[in-house]
């Protein structure tokens, strides 16, 4: 009964078929089965945000989703967002503002920040902090991360006017 189950989904736009144990979570599936190791695993109970990915366009904790639950959905990881150029400006701002230290939290921070910037064009620092409040940075780079997100929001707003 605990037998492997087939699952098919899209990962960064590519169809993926696999046979997985029910207990395998999406974070481990991405990292171990698909070698997409940009998605990091910190706490495995939803607290740290390092494993944040997009499922059907919405950010989720991949440590709290079973790979089998992703059946039929479209998953986007940091590799996908990075390769498509969607967050190139945000990545550059992280570099420029010194928001990268060890980088462990960075994939989750980038995906979460991009989620905010997609929904809100001019978030203030309070809104940025609020949206990122579920992501831990163990290097405590918070100030610089908020700076980078704020700078990106400003630059995007200028470009669109």
């Amino acid at each position: 009964m605990t037998a492997p189950v087939p699952v098919s989904l899209l990962v960064n736009g590519d169809p993926v078929e696999a046979i997985v144990l029910p207990r395998l979570n999406l974070a481990d599936f991405l990292r171990d089965n698909l070698k997409l190791t940009g998605t990091h695993v910190g706490c495995e109970h939803g607290v740290c945000g390092a494993c944040t990915v997009r499922v059907n366009g919405e950010i989720v904790r991949s440590c709290l989703i079973l790979a089998v639950q992703a059946q039929g959905s479209s998953v986007e990881t940091i590799e996908g967002l990075s390769d498509s150029g969607e967050i190139a400006d945000l990545q550059a701002a992280f570099r420029e503002r010194n928001a990268l230290q060890c980088g462990y939290c960075t994939p989750g921070m980038l995906i979460t920040a991009q989620d905010l910037l997609k929904h809100t064009s001019a978030p203030d620092r309070g809104a940025i902090r609020d949206h990122l409040s579920g992501n831990y940075c163990r290097c405590t780079g918070y100030q610089a991360i908020v700076d980078a997100v704020e700078a990106t929001a400003r630059a995007r707003a200028e470009r669109s006017t």
């Binding site: 189950v5 919405e58 950010i59 639950q69």
Partner: protein, 293 residues
Amino acid sequence: MKAAAFAYARATSVANALELLAAHGDRAKVLSGGQSLMPAMNLRLVSPDIVVDIGGLHELGGFTLKKDILVIGALTRHVDLLRSGEVAVHAPLLRDAVAHVAHPAIRNRGTLGGSLAHADPASELPACAVTLDATIVVRSAGGERRIAAGEFFRGIYETALSSEELLVAVELPVAGEGSTFFFQEFARRHGDYAIAGLAARSVVKSGTFADLQLGFFAVGDRPLLAVAARRLINVSITPVTVAEAVAALTDELDPQEDQLASAAMRRHLAGVLLRRCVATLLSRPELDVGVAE
């Protein structure tokens, strides 16, 4: 840590989910948003033999307005509650509360039904259900039961649900003309579970409370409708009546102690919330000061 091995069944309909639950009893666990069940399984606090995934049952989602009742499907996610026009108009307390539930990535998956079934005493939505006199609709292979929210919560993580039942919907009386609401909590960080919280509903007429429901959470083993609220109904509200109500509340509460706060601190914070709530609902900021005359 990783979850222990289990079998997985993707329910194809509510009837199918109920059959699976009837067949497996308490060896099965329902999986809706997974935002409480998965952490518990990863920490090996629970190890079901089989997980019944109801996540694909669209019949359990969405909002229906039936006269003066707003019916919300069990699978309605926190983010849907935040975005819903129906909730904003007919159940604004729920909208205010859900903004305090966890963080965006968790609100995208967590569901109303899951939050009520999980019955964490520090969680926001059970307190709202009690304050708003919600009815919780549950179904088993044998039929449907409707349970008043006040009787649904039995203790820490304990509800009136049996292992063969599915929570299918929540019915909320819509916010009546003249109802006003208050929601506040103390938490270490926005999105964390509350150290003490209050979800309140009132009807104010000529500067007094014609009605007042105070649903406290995180100060007991379940959401608690404070009896002390009755002292404030149909009386003129002065610093003295407020102080008396706070004293009565303090006697009534039996808060737990944990790493976040002592019982005394929780009692104190509940009193602060009561004062703020009364001052806010009556638009009388001077009552918040907390100094008796």
